[in-house]
Symmetry: C2
Subunit: 262 residues, 2 copies
DNA sequence: GTATGACGAGAATGATATTCTCGCTTCGAT
DNA sequence: ATCGAAGCGAGAATATCATTCTCGTCATAC
């Protein structure tokens, strides 16, 4: 990165030289990546152990049996480490979500499941798991909003697809699927994150169900399937555009099913 | 607080003694409150000046012309100071919002305006304003979720009223107004807070309008008034339950208007 | 075989929050 | 007016981290 020659792009820099350097470089790069990975793993362990992202750079260094020196040679700072972990987790999560969704068929059902999964992932666990979506994500949101947005891309892509599919199936309406997807994600993630009611209020915690209903029908109540198992179906029923599920599915579903893996 | 006698509630502790002590106490308490206020004011000024909550306790102390000693005698720590400021700001905001809403009539319009205002308050401003809703609020969400929830109460109460009114007017549907209100608030606040799209994507920033549409109709599209000025009206039209605005208003509106100030 | 760059160990720095020590005032009761 | 306790100011002392820097060592490329 900092090895860029001072001169601008003058001579195309003969390919052979490139390759020679590259060969020399490759090994080093590989070692570097291994080290980075060790830091990453160590951090991950610490997070799992302490259940929080409040670990110290020192701890990471010790656990990875490396040195502070090395750490700062590979990372711009703690925030970069966290960012790396964050991106990785979200990307991984998107992939896993796609897998689980492969067994679900209806566009709206798929979206609902996705919301459930996301909500679940974002719920703080005392025990273990990754608070990657939770506290830590929020900290980053303050300090490095852009990069957080980048990290969200994989999931956002997934949700956007889901929304688009639902729209194509005539089971949802929105002029800008991407924005809507973003709103759904945010609602699920932050709600899961949010604290229960403070005092002795009954409406305590807002669950994934509540989130789903809200996302589905907003406040005009299109999606008021308070019930249980396959609520999605019923939910959409009262709505005009969403009723002909069977019909629309015929025309739009194929595309939807395909895009899921794309 | 730490002056509680060791013995349990044995003798009802003669009232006169109580009063005597109380009288002695009152003055001190008053002085204490003044000092606290000075800290609060100083902090507020710093926030306004620097446009961030990254001020130092030292700075607060200096600005308030008091001492660290004193600061920690009155506050459990910096976070308590922030919390105090936060609660105050939110409470104040709820009040102000109520005022502005006093000129708006339709239940849904009122809710929309509230969402707009909240979104606006929560939008990060480089210049000045209160980062109290933004970065700082998020930090607290991580470290003191319960207290944040408490701080949200005033606004939550307001939004709950608005939602309930809308429901009573037949312009909204929800089994648990409080939860719905909470969801609306979160959506508005966090979305305003969220970063713009990372790459060169067009759908860039999600605006208050988008938030409102989403809250209104969810993804089933009950509220698709992409338009402008008094969009709310049109938005509700396509929905079955929401259409008879004129009709329902007759029966439910009076109650709604009343509660606004309650 | 030697120069170079990466590394480990750990000290040094710098920024902050929080605590502690020492006297000096002030307030309130007698 | 006087005394004792509590409150307070000034600022040193701690504690915690992140981040940087110094000094050798060692592996590797040439």
């Amino acid at each position: 990165m900092s090895v860029v020659p001072a001169e601008p792009v003058e001579s195309p820099e003969p390919a052979w030289r490139q390759r020679a350097v590259e060969r020399s470089t490759r090994a080093a790069k590989l070692r570097a990546e291994q080290r980075v990975q060790r830091f990453l793993d160590a951090a991950q362990e610490l997070i799992a152990d302490k259940g929080t992202t409040d670990f110290t750079v020192q701890e990471v260094v010790e656990r990875s049996r490396q040195s502070l020196r090395s750490f700062y040679q590979h990372f711009d700072g703690k925030h970069e480490l966290l960012l790396a972990l964050f991106e990785d987790a979200l990307s991984r999560s998107a992939t896993e979500m796609r897998e689980r969704l492969s067994t679900v068929t209806g566009p709206l059902d798929r979206l609902k499941v996705a919301v459930d999964l996301l909500y679940d992932s974002s719920t703080p666990r005392e025990g273990q798991q990754s608070p990657l979506f939770t506290d830590f994500a929020i900290q980053l949101l303050v300090s490095h909003p852009d990069q957080v947005a980048t990290a969200h891309l994989p999931l956002l892509a997934l949700f956007t697809e889901l929304v688009e599919d639902a729209v194509k199936a005539g089971q949802a309406v929105t002029p800008r699927p991407r924005r809507t997807a973003s709103l759904i994600m945010q609602t699920a993630m932050f709600t899961a994150q949010a604290p229960a009611a403070p005092v002795g209020a009954q409406p305590s915690r807002i669950g994934a169900e509540d989130v789903w209903e809200f996302c589905l029908g907003g406040i005009t109540g299109a999606g008021q399937a308070t019930g249980g198992e396959s609520g999605t179906q019923k939910a959409a029923a009262p709505k005009k555009a969403a009723t002909k599920r069977t019909t629309t599915k015929k025309s739009a579903a194929p595309k939807g099913a395909t895009r899921t893996k794309a």
